[in-house]
Symmetry: none
DNA sequence: CATGAATGAGAATTCATTCAT
DNA sequence: AATGAATGAATTCTCATTCAT
């Protein structure tokens, strides 16, 4: 009854996007051919055009959806973190790290393939990315104003922090010695250290943890 | 080592490499065509083959030369820094930041185009890169052993640090408000903070800095 | 004759044919895609196939219907013109010119797209076209036999005349300075002149016309 | 020594143009594929691009060269014809007919494929064509002013005349009963008749013919 | 050392058409 | 009747590369 791939076109479109995500992340946008993509999803190249209009459109879709998703989750995390700067920062860091470890492909594409976007699409993507950066900058500024962080150049700190946190997804291998929670913790320590905040247990993953007796840093000393 | 070049062939080869650096950094290896490159240097595509054997060879040359250069400078900087962990770390940071700000194109290519290298070439490049990472890891380990740094997971800290420092070259614009020395200082502070080393606040440019005796800056020689 | 059309299917089919007429006349048969045609009539490409079997069929339909229509009108005009050669010729000319000015699209297609017809269809179209040419040849021959016209090579004169008359529809713009009646008159004069028939000067619009008694115009009924 | 087609690239380019002329005239621009063209000249499709930049460029080249050629020959013919309107007209007619019979392919393309030209190229082609039409219009106007021709609407007469004369090349078959000279004569008679000029031998092909005894019209009375 | 010409492979995309729903 | 999805065949054109000159 069904032809080949399954029930519906929407399903096929999702499969295509997923395969595109993988292939573009692995080989790069320019290096991925639509033949490859079609083969990956069991279609003929021409059939892809029932699901997107252009290779470029596919790329932009992936980038934009990722950025919108990231932004949405970040706002939710910040909302849940409440008003205190430290907890907001920790929420940001935790969200960023977890998202980046989970969505390695999306992140890779959004970071490496901006140069493959047409000007129009690049503008849109950059605007979203700037929005995201602004979230962190706002957190840092609020913390600095409240005297919670020692932030020199906010912008520099923000960019450096984002670069550091994002880098994690290029080398982290799930299932290894380090859990995702470890990654969050380790990176939170580095960030807080850079901001002159003595890192203690109080500042941890979910941020929702009630304060308690000061425990020694979790990170091993070696 | 020398190709089939005569008197001014070496000059032409250098011009080609420079143009290649620019074009690959801007558009990506896959997206740069040899037609473009030839046009850029005022040759016909066929003539390029008097100066390299393959597009892939050109890429690898650029990547390898960059990595070798970086490694050499790093070793020189470490040597000059003497035996003390803190100074060695600061030397590493300063060298890394300055090199990355100066060699934006090389760095971009080496970071983004590894996936365009053929397996053989990739292996060689990765080996060099790992050598470089090992320099930092060694510095951190030494510092941890000496009790100078609070390093949790050395490897994580090293990768995170490198990601942070490298990120600078993606957004830094020379001639702007921040000098290269500023960049070194700001990043050194972040790194040291992350390692639990109290940094002088002299390094904080704009922040709400707690008053205190002006101590000499830790970093920013060169 | 009827296709697989229901109640309003006939209407849709007519709309499609009309849009096809416009698009083929404007862009040419090869250059018009069924996507374009479908879009023009607010359908999806697949739906067109409820109204014709093949793009080629659509073309042939348009060509054949046009030729049949032209032939029918010509015969009616000749019938109405009576037996006298001059009046028959004028009737032919008037009919041809008026038809060609009114049915620019059909005429364009029938003249330019014969080469796009499959052999079978081409044969049919050529047969119809030859029938049409034969009407004029017969008129000329009759006139020559009656001594009314000075026809050298009948066939040459016929083809030349048809080319001249048909050409009108490539440059005539309705609503301009010249009415359709003007066009008929002007062309009739040229044709008659070429046949050695003295034409009334009433038909000369702007020229340096030698004075003479105003005679009724020969042409331009209808 | 030579690869395949012959001595030089210029030769190959000429061969390509000639084959293009034939194929486009026969099948139409849209219907001719570059594969076909390449096969015709014994090249691979990719090799064609060593000789032109674009299929469209090839088309425009053919059209423009033809129009420039036609214009040049016309001016030469008019120059040779001297100042007298009748002889100028006859020279124009003779030149037009002979050129059109000889360059059937070029003429066909220039007439049918204007719609395949991109706007920019279309403009250029139209300007040339208008120049050509203007040559005839000028001849007619001069003749009308001198009282030599009875021209009603100059423009209409010019267009009708051109259409008639051009039409010849769509049906004329060289080697048939009619020579090219016959074609010239027959069409000259039609044109002159349309202009109210009694056609006699005096008005013939090259115009250079010395006057002699008045012979009856050449065209048979059928 | 540079180049014109050629080429095999492959790129993205379009096309007319089919068919189950 | 209309359509979404699929497809084989074909389109123009680009690419890295070669080689005789």
């Amino acid at each position: 009854m069904a032809r080949k791939v399954g029930p519906q076109g929407a399903r096929t479109a999702a499969v295509i996007r997923d395969a595109g995500l993988t292939l573009i992340a692995r080989h790069g946008y320019e290096a991925m051919s639509l033949r490859q993509l079609a083969a990956e999803v069991g279609l003929r190249p021409a059939s892809l055009y029932n699901h997107f209009e252009t290779k470029q459109d596919l790329l932009f879709d992936l980038v934009r959806d990722h950025l919108v998703d990231l932004l949405g989750r970040t706002d939710a995390a910040l909302e849940a973190a409440g008003p205190r700067p430290l907890e907001r920062l920790l929420a940001f860091v935790a969200n960023h790290v977890l998202y980046h470890l989970d969505k390695k492909r999306e992140v890779t594409i959004a970071n490496l393939e901006l140069r493959s976007l047409e000007p129009r699409n690049l503008d849109a993507a950059m605007a979203l990315r700037r929005s995201y950066e602004d979230r962190l900058i706002a957190v840092l500024d609020a913390g600095a104003a409240a005297g919670a962080f020692a932030v020199g150049e906010t912008r520099v700190v923000a960019y450096a922090t984002l670069a550091m946190l994002t880098g994690a997804c290029t080398w982290y291998r799930p299932g290894g010695r380090l859990s995702e929670a470890d990654m969050v913790r380790l990176h939170a320590d580095l960030v807080l250290g850079g901001l002159g905040v003595a890192t203690t247990d109080a500042a941890r993953t979910g941020g929702a943890r009630p304060p308690g007796p000061d425990k020694p840093k979790l990170v091993a000393r070696n």
